[in-house]
Amino acid sequence: MTMTTGNVEGICIWDLPSQQAEARAFRQVWLRMARTVVKQALVTAWLRIWLIILLGGGLWLGLFWVFAEGFQFLETAIPYSDLVEQIIRYVFGTFFMALMVMLIVSAAILLYGGLFRSPDTLFLLTQPVRIERLFASRLFDTVILSSWAFIILSSPLLLGFALVQEAHVLFYVLMVPYLIAFVYIPCCLGALFCLIVAQHVPRLKSFLVVTAIICLVVFAVILLNWISWLPRNDALTVEWLQNMLNRLSVTQFRLLPSWWLTTGLMSAARGNIVDGVMFLVVILANAMGLHALCVVVAGKYYRTVFFRLADSGRKKRNAHTGLVDHLLLHRVPRVAPAIRQLIVKDIRLFRRDPVQWSQLLIFIGLLIFYFVNIRRMYYEQFYFAWMNLISFLNVAVVALLLSTFTTRFIYPLISLEGPRFWILGLMPISRPAIVWSKVAFALCLCLIPCCGLVFLSDLMLGVDALVHLAHQATTVMCCVGLTAIAVGLGAWYPNFRAVSAARIASGFGGTLNLVISTAFIIVVLGLGSLPAHVRIVAESPGLLPTVTARVEFNPLVVAWLNYGPLGAVVFTIVIGGITLWVGLQHFRRLEF
């Protein structure tokens, strides 16, 4: 039996495990938990798994097809193989550099949560665990989380390239090792960034931090504008191409890991074994070196940073009453005060929990950025009718974004009442009123941003008044229908035990909500918006090169064009009504 005596006389303590034994213990626990998660998912979440496989597979195939077509276009449109290779090198360089920057930021955020905010870490800090081991396990988790997304995003591009270029077998052998080794580098850089930020940011005044973030955003916008700005007359000319490549020349800096990855993989595709293997070794060596550096830095500074963050404590937050709260509480007629209180309560919880609104804000911000810059693409030079198509796709994007929002945040609303549900249950409010309050709250949140986004898109594209009208009506129907579906299913499948909205949304009910919402969007768009676009194209000969005369449709299509929007309204009422009714019935009978 291994025992040793500590510094204090008479105290018997066990020898702490060796580095290898400690690593083995962590590995064993990780594997056991992973196995349990997989087993549970296979038994209880089969719908979600099939959905992920189907949707993910579909998305992957779609991306693969787009990339393969793109590479094929380059092959056929440009007769100079050197230029094609140069373009591909720039495409790869830009793609991987952009992903590397994103990975650095996401790794830093993930590690910050894992190292300083996770209850698991607090538990391990009370055990005699080496800090280096704790840090390495968190870094490993981050690499695993980052690499699957990275591989899924990169593989269609790389395989599309390999297929078109008829790559050497070495490319296929080395591709995954290259990607995994590469992803380690931004994760390590993110880890170092995380430690530096955690060390210094709590001491900086908040206005300095906010100013720095604003400066970064402004810089990013200017940079993107500069890269994407093109003189109107030069589009798709040799000068335009040279100009574009010059602007992206930063991606060809030879000390960038993205350049090593690009060069190594392109060498492997050509069958150049020496370069193909050498650049993999370069990436591996850098990844291992950075890993070692991170572990040493963490071993030296992690506890100091942890203590500094713990010392900063939490600021008191005053519960301000917002203008919206005041208006809802005192200026909304014909709504029972208790219902108003319920709606205001939900709004306050939403407003005071940045996790809920920050993701939505990021998506809306990205969409606004895209819509505002949509005219830069000069589609009107080629096919004016594409405007209609793009505006229609933009409505679809907004609706799909809305469906993810309702699945992630609206569907769990009733479940999140959880342990507090007895408060509502004992109040003199009928159960249906609780459900209706959730519908009203969700509509308040969804209508204005969605309609605003669609209006902005249509405005920037300069679509017809008819299309404006059809899009706005479709958006309203989507808001109403998706809200009703999310609240109805939320009342149908409440999960009062879960405390995390993400966990509730990822359950069976949440997955079902996403499927029904997607199907609903397809039908409503097909009935509500598409007829307006078809009508415009059909009644405007010359708008599309293939449509040179006024089109005459058969009676069935004419009926669709005339009565489709009415059908969309009826469909929204029926689907939303049925889901809400079923949810209400179930919720009325619910015992808690």
Binding site: W14, Q127, S312
Partner: protein
């Protein structure tokens, strides 16, 4: 043994624990009492190495918990108020993990796990995933993991919350037996009757300052009437301490009670809150105050 030497902990401008001097020798069961937000959890978090004191040192058997956390942690068994368990592990797998981290050789570990399963009556559920456990089952598992390596120091934060009478009896017996075996047991609790029943010595912390440290008998001696319950004495002590403090510094009266995440503001820097002081000056001050109140 546990030694707090002139420990002060601040969170920004707020002071959560001030000039704490306290030592708990081997074989003693020490109960740490105080109202909500008094600084109990902050003290415990310094003891287990999750917080670093701004001034002074906390030592476990001579190892500084801030500068030698690993050496200190190997001697500690810790049961937090809100224990963390890995949801996707079974109770047995969790115990194996903790035992491996503490370096227990495999045959010893298996024996120890069987011993704790037997002691805490966990055989029916120890192979189920911990995500399915009730509060009492979780608490039993955490206790088992904390004593798996026979720690020299056992630190327990609110041990009785949510336990049924049988489990509570089990925990009380365990704490007493650990102290009898020579371990220092540091127990934070709100349940005065438990402290009265099993503690060798109690300490009362109020607004970050140790206002009393001694035996239950010494605490009772503060009151003229022997019929007062420990609860009444505790309430009077904390009430009078607050009054005394607010008279010496009016800013005290307006202080909010602190919480773990929101520690109390304490502007006093000259308050000598040592264990010795707690036994002499503080006792005198509080004794006078209680006496005056009884007279009026």
């Amino acid at each position: 043994m546990i030694v707090f030497s002139d420990v002060t902990k601040r969170f920004g401008p707020k002071t959560a624990v001030e000039h704490l001097n306290l030592s708990i020798p081997r074989g003693e069961l020490f109960a740490f009492l105080g109202p909500n937000g008094a600084g109990k959890t902050t003290t415990i978090r310094m003891l287990v190495g999750l917080l670093r004191p701004n001034e002074g040192t906390v030592a476990i058997c001579g190892f500084n918990t801030a500068t030698q956390p690993r050496e200190a942690a190997r001697l500690i068994g810790y049961v937090p108020d809100q224990p963390y368990l890995y949801d996707k592990l079974s109770g047995r797998e969790f115990l194996e993990f903790v035992g491996q981290l503490r370096g227990l050789p495999l045959p010893v570990l298996k024996d120890r796990i069987d011993r704790e399963i037997e002691r805490f009556g966990m055989s029916e559920f120890v192979d189920d995933l911990t995500e399915t456990y009730s509060h009492g089952m979780r608490q039993r598992l955490v206790f088992a993991s904390a004593v798996l390596h026979d720690p020299s120091v056992l630190i327990v934060d609110e041990p009785m919350v949510g336990l049924d009478p049988k489990s509570a009896k089990l925990v009380k017996d365990l704490l007493k037996s650990k102290a009898a075996e020579g371990a220092s047991v540091f127990m934070s609790t709100h349940t005065l009757s438990i402290a009265e029943e099993i503690a060798d010595r109690i300490g009362i912390i109020h607004k970050g300052r140790l206002i009393f440290a001694g035996s239950v008998e010494e605490l009772r001696a503060l009151r003229a009437s022997d019929h007062a319950s420990l609860e009444e004495i505790f309430l009077e002590l904390t009430d009078e301490a607050a009054t005394e403090l607010s008279q010496s510094d009016p800013a005290w009266a307006s202080k909010d009670p602190p919480s773990h995440s929101d520690p109390v503001e304490q502007p006093h820097s000259d308050w000598k809150n040592s264990e010795i002081l707690a036994k002499t000056e503080t006792k005198e001050v509080l004794g006078r105050a209680v006496e005056e109140r009884s007279n009026t």
